[in-house]
Symmetry: C2
Subunit: 514 residues, 2 copies
């Protein structure tokens, strides 16, 4: 395999962080904007996000949740009234203080001192407090419940260290916000959203995840319970790819979200919130990318199949383009994964080989090259992005296929690729969750040992709280570790807590994380 | 007709502005958020916007324009370098000056003086200057042109007087930004976008528009040419529903958007920008609403058909619901206007008549009521929102229709309603453009006369510029009038300018406007 010349300069095993940046650049997904902490999402990166949006939105709507839009600006008073939430969020936010610019007399512009806002406005870091105001207006009686809303929006959290898609000051997301009559119904919604995220991550993004509850110290500010889906990246680190919160009556008390129950008694609502963001795109890169660039799972690929005619800027090109257009139309009329196949005929000028490597780096699932001889033979040359190389000769693994045969099997092939990508990632995740470690010393040895990508540990603990939990968090932090979640599907505890030695009550996942 | 009891309290003819607010509230489309100048867009209003987005986005993508996402924050320097643009935009914008809040020691929060930004950031009022930076990075050679980008985003313009959907401090829109090798290609794109807007407005929103060029004084800040689509509201006022700008090389010079042409010479790009916003929803209300609420054109209706079973909270309800579900499934499997029919079975508790009026006010195109007797007879009771009243008896105009017949004709019926709404609005527009006025005195008399909704005037002018134009603008302003545009399809001039008496060179539209 040493004779393969990969399409990227940096290999995952050499420098995973640098490789990540190279993929984003080589696949032309995003770039730094020059504005502090903000990125520009370019067409291929945004196209993947649009696909995620579409599929998630279908799931959200199918659950009876209705999309709305709430203001980007939140008055300070909304933060002031919710103490726990402020503590967690009020620190790093963009604050609007003026509503006008004037000339500084030296060719520049300054905020107009005459146009200072009486009360500064915060650019939303999340919208619980402003949507809480609306819920308080909208809900009067038990008949108004449950209230199920969602918005697709940009949010801003002033981040000191940013990394494209994973942590940026501005990012795009959806945030679901729901209100319920009681704890039981709100918890049901919290888990419905969590399960929706699991299904979208695994079925659409081919990201295998572990769903579970976050420990107390990792809860969303103001939440009673926070649940997450955690995905394993190829470097063994964890990525929190979505969260679902049961907020109890905390935000309802702060905003006055009340209803009259069937007996006419006034009650506070129980609320939930849940979100996924453009961070998911980072998870796709670090799960599916390889040393040739990105690989996009078919369900979220803006183009699932790219057809490349081998044009020669000759009159013969016309017949070749017509042949390729027939292939394109034949594919577009067929389905894969329940939708019409998304196919691009890339007839831009340029050499087919150069264009091929562009699409390899972008990770289009299937690349179809067609030259004059293929056309004469009624064939196409098929390159699967998930089986790019012929390891015998170190060359791209083209399969020359009859056109009719290809048309008939393309949809199935895309579904096979989707499933194969999930299986590969799930196998890697399962192989890299280690169990049986029984002390903090072993934890330290496991992570500070020779393994470059040690993966995750599933250990048992006694679920300490308060100061005792703080101590555990400190111990882990010394090794750059965090508790990811308490897996929903883990076996029950049967040993001692690795931190306290007391009888364990549950199992937790420990990992380094993004 | 006097025996009709309309569903709204306020009639259009009594107080059009108050009627507009009542429709928004009665159709549950949006409400004031409590945050200065920002509204909350509720599910029915947002659902209409989502439909507009989807249909416009399809048109944008079909033209080969690629969606991206650019930062919400724009550094001051970007505004400083483009003089004409600053002049038009730098006045009322939200300015971020701090990135952290701290306690004020009295239970409140204040911007942290330690966290003042070195350079304030502006919340984008439009993105020419920040996208210009990206274009300058992305474009090197003629091979990179044209560059066709678009983003769906929120923007903020600090407005003193706001009106829901029509003028809010924050609003949602799409902004297309393109770069071209020369004037000719950029102008072609300017007109392609304009034509796309016309088609979407007329075919999807059933909003008849007049396309034309804005006069010099109404140009977008920094533009060489600004073109618009103007729609006529039922009160005869004009609504600018979309604009397309040819920016010449102005923004290219400011941001350094250059390319090497085929001869190797460095050239500045010619750029364009074009946008439509949530304002269009306001146009739909004021064009199609009536004294019973909103009427939504089928192509942009979140639900095109609403089925209302007459439930009695009895065991018999089950069979009725099953019958309605069959009707729903039968409709959902059919198409209208090139898409599957969007049908809702509204089985919430509550009286069918009360729910009927909810959907009348919201403007669902077709309401289908089904009671036990209808079910037994294999029928449905059909109510067209565009023919709500039986004017003979002042009652809702139900048509009792065989189920099979209804299923077979529902798609065609929706298409007929769409066309009918367009024809009605186009007829009103055409009837309310008055020609033949030849002096400013006549203009004044026309608008200050007895007609409540005088509509638009098409007059001839000599196209004055500079100070002469300013004088015309002042004269019109005295009567609350503006020049809307120079209609693309108007006849050529053949008389004298109504302002200067000089030979006219073209015809312009004059109107009161939103």
């Amino acid at each position: 395999m040493s004779n393969i010349r990969h399409a990227l300069n940096i290999k995952r095993e050499d420098d995973f962080a640098a490789w990540y940046q190279e993929v984003i650049s080589a696949a032309d997904m995003a770039e730094d904007s020059g504005v502090r902490g903000c990125m520009v999402i370019k067409p291929w990166g945004y196209g993947i996000w649009e696909r995620i949006q579409r599929l998630m939105d279908d799931r959200i709507k199918a659950a009876g949740v209705q999309n709305c839009y709430f203001p980007i600006f939140i008055p300070l008073a909304n933060f002031e009234r919710e103490a726990a939430h402020v503590e967690g969020f009020a620190k790093e936010m963009a604050v609007v203080t003026h509503h006008r610019l004037i000339s500084d007399g030296k060719g520049g512009l300054i905020p107009d001192p005459e146009a200072k806002l009486e009360e500064p406005l915060v650019v939303r870091p999340t919208s619980e407090t402003i949507i809480g105001d609306a819920m308080a207006r909208w809900i009067q009686s038990w008949r108004d419940l449950p209230l199920l809303t969602n918005q697709w929006a940009n949010v801003v959290r002033w981040e000191m260290r940013t990394r494209m898609f994973l942590r940026t000051s501005e990012f795009l997301w959806q945030e679901g916000h729901t209100a319920h009559a009681d704890r039981e119904d709100a918890l049901k919604e919290t888990h419905r959203a969590l399960e929706m995220y699991r299904a979208c991550a695994e079925e659409d993004l081919a990201l295998p995840v572990v769903t579970g509850e976050k420990p107390e110290n990792e809860r969303f500010p103001g939440a009673v319970e926070t649940w997450s889906i955690e995905a394993m990246m190829q470097d063994g680190k964890a990525l929190q790819a979505g969260t679902s919160h049961y907020l109890g009556t905390n935000f309802a008390h702060a905003a006055g979200i009340k209803y009259q129950d069937r007996e006419g008694t006034e009650q506070y609502c129980h609320t939930t919130s849940w979100g996924v963001s453009t961070r998911m795109v980072g998870g796709v890169i670090m799960t599916h990318g390889d040393d040739d660039g990105l690989r996009v799972p078919p369900r979220i690929a803006p183009h699932q199949i790219v057809i490349l005619p081998m044009l020669r800027e000759q009159p013969e090109d016309e017949a070749l383009l017509a042949y390729c257009e027939e292939v394109r139309a034949g594919l577009a009329s067929q389905g894969a994964c329940g939708e019409p196949i998304r196919v691009l005929l890339d007839s831009r000028p340029g050499k087919a080989a150069a264009k091929r490597w562009d699409w390899v780096r972008k990770g289009a699932p299937l690349i179809v090259e067609v030259g004059p001889r293929d056309m004469e033979g009624g064939k196409v040359a098929l390159l699967r992005r998930d089986r790019l190389w012929n390891t015998d000769n170190g060359k791209p693994n083209f399969a020359f296929t009859e056109r009719a045969e290809f048309l008939s099997k393309a949809g199935g092939l895309l579904e096979e690729i989707q499933q194969g990508m999930f299986d590969e990632a799930a196998g890697r995740r399962d192989a890299n969750i280690t169990r049986g470690v029984t002390s903090m010393d072993e934890v330290a040895a496991f992570y500070d040992g020779s393994s470059k990508y040690p993966g995750w540990l599933e250990v048992q603990w006694s679920k300490p709280t308060g100061a005792a939990l703080d101590k555990v968090v400190e111990q882990l932090k010394a090794h750059k570790l965090t508790i990811r979640n308490v897996p929903r599907d883990a076996e029950s505890a049967d040993g001692a807590c690795i931190f306290t030695g007391e009888p364990a009550v549950e199992r937790i996942l420990i990992a380094r994380a993004y």
